[in-house]
Symmetry: C2
Subunit: 325 residues, 2 copies
């Protein structure tokens, strides 16, 4: 995935050079910690790729926007992990686990402010538009996280409501990252909207795929507990589609499996997977994923820049959508 | 206090007209709730007063910056109340008490983003400078809150460290509010710095006074439990000065009172107040308050605008610093 590209190197260097004060240590140590847990850095790369797509060559001027997106992403991880009571993140302790919830709340807040500090370093004429874009993304991510929490206590969530939730919670940040790059590059309004849509559609497709891989992924390559979502009764596209199609006694059977502590984890996984198979839920979910992937490629196709400029984004998109299962 | 002034009305109207989405209700209801708990609205008024001081007449263009400051303040209240496990705020349930901690974390986050949304509505040429100023204030407030939490577990905090903590936690927001008004009004750099300093010095003086009033305030007018800080072993300027001056056996006596559960609350209050009297701590604290008040008035005095323009700020400052005790 874009291994020969300059973007990962630029992002890596920028994060290496990012400096946070030493004191108060209990505010800034957690920030250094979360940023050091090496993710794929897709989001900050997308800012640079969005700018590059539209012929912007002074990529160092897009670095602050790139960092703003990565800081925002990590802020949301710190706070979401508190809310989800998650003990681990990328195999390491979450911030609230490593320190405590108060420190996680406050260092998250500070990291969000640091994201806005990076925005303030962007090319000055672009700052107002970037600020509006970033705010729009940020508020949608909050709304998406709230919907996610609200949906956990609902028995039945429609497919559209679920897709809208993941769009807000995870996908607008990808679209927003690309859009910020486009803004810095001075792309026209239509292309700016198209690259945003590309990111959002790709993000939805990626999240749908993530839901599918949780159950059907190759345990050796997926890197998480297989079917962890089933065991946690988590809302996923599979679960949402199943609820939509369950008929007759199967509805009661499924309800008896949810929150069931008298069967073994493997029995629960097998029973739910049997229902998924019976109602062809994997295919339905894969079709939906394909729809969103095609929408994304269509968005990118419509953007009026030379096709060669689109190659890195196409390659990234393909590599993201081509994980084995 | 500025009763005949236009500023409270403008702020009140702006908050009345502020609109938040109805959904997700669990995200926006807490925001509506915290903003409805009527505070004195000093901070948003300071933005308008800062602009007015420098002859700015289009005050409606300063309203978004004014709301940004009020939203930020309320965001910090929501999150601080979680961290302090405070059940009540202005006599009503805190957000985490009324809903839960997760909802308080996320609605606080959303309110911080909403503050930045207001910033994005400010006069476009001022947005980059306002954003920088706001970020600087916001990060210092986070640092101040962290220091406050750090200091709770320390036995002894120096006077300077304590003043620096309250400067960051509470005073820079007052200075920042005034500075944002000055920026919108296009004040020169020197005056902008002076009005910022005025707000910070006044804020420190006000917080010192608050510490003094907690113990020595008139119970009928102060509106909080008298000497609640002593009972909670909270760091205050009185406690910090006492620790600095305690001699001989009194140090041991004081330590025996801290975290002491075998005496009645009134016995603890009386014993600590006896030590305050013995070491003349109230006078020392009042002197320090006076020093900061004088610094504030000196800052205001130096600003190069007609004296008549300063009258509302002077009157506000005097009314803030003239609460009975």
């Amino acid at each position: 995935m874009v291994q020969n590209s300059v973007f990962p190197t630029l992002v890596h260097q920028a994060l290496e050079q990012a400096h946070f004060p030493s004191q108060p240590a209990s505010l800034y140590d957690p920030i250094r910690y979360i940023l050091s847990l090496s993710g794929k850095r897709i989001r900050p790369m997308l800012v640079l790729m969005g700018a590059d797509l539209f012929g912007y060559t002074e990529l160092q001027h897009a670095i602050p926007a790139s960092l703003a997106i990565e800081y925002f992403h990590n802020f949301s991880l710190i706070h979401d992990d508190i809310m989800d009571k998650a003990p681990l993140r990328r195999g390491k302790n979450t911030v609230h686990q490593q320190w405590n919830a108060n420190i996680a709340i406050l260092s998250g807040d500070a990291l969000l402010v640091k994201a806005y500090e990076e925005l303030a370093k962007c090319p000055v004429s672009a700052v107002p538009y970037l600020l509006k874009t970033f705010n729009q993304v940020a508020i949608e991510v909050c709304e998406g996280q709230q919907l996610d929490m609200d949906y956990e206590s609902l028995n039945c969530v429609s497919q559209d409501a679920y897709v809208e939730m993941i769009r807000q919670k995870t996908s607008v940040l990808l679209g927003g990252a690309l859009k910020m790059g486009a803004i810095i590059a001075g792309a026209n309004e239509e292309d700016t909207q198209l690259i945003y849509n590309f990111g959002v559609h790709l993000g939805v497709a990626f999240q749908l795929q993530d839901d599918i891989l949780d159950v059907y992924g190759d345990p050796d390559t997926f890197g998480k507990q297989v079917a962890g979502d089933i065991l946690a009764d988590k809302k996923t596209i599979l679960n949402v589609l199943l609820q939509q199609h369950l008929a007759g006694d199967d509805r009661q059977l499924y309800q008896s499996l949810v929150n069931n502590t008298s069967i073994t984890p493997q029995e629960k996984i097998d029973a739910v997977k049997n229902l998924y198979t019976k109602y062809d839920v994997k295919s339905l979910a894969s079709d939906l994923k394909t729809q969103f992937t095609e929408l994304a490629f269509h968005d990118l196709h419509q953007i009026k820049v030379p096709e060669i400029k689109k190659e890195e984004l196409l390659s990234l998109a393909r590599s993201l959508m081509d994980r084995s299962y």
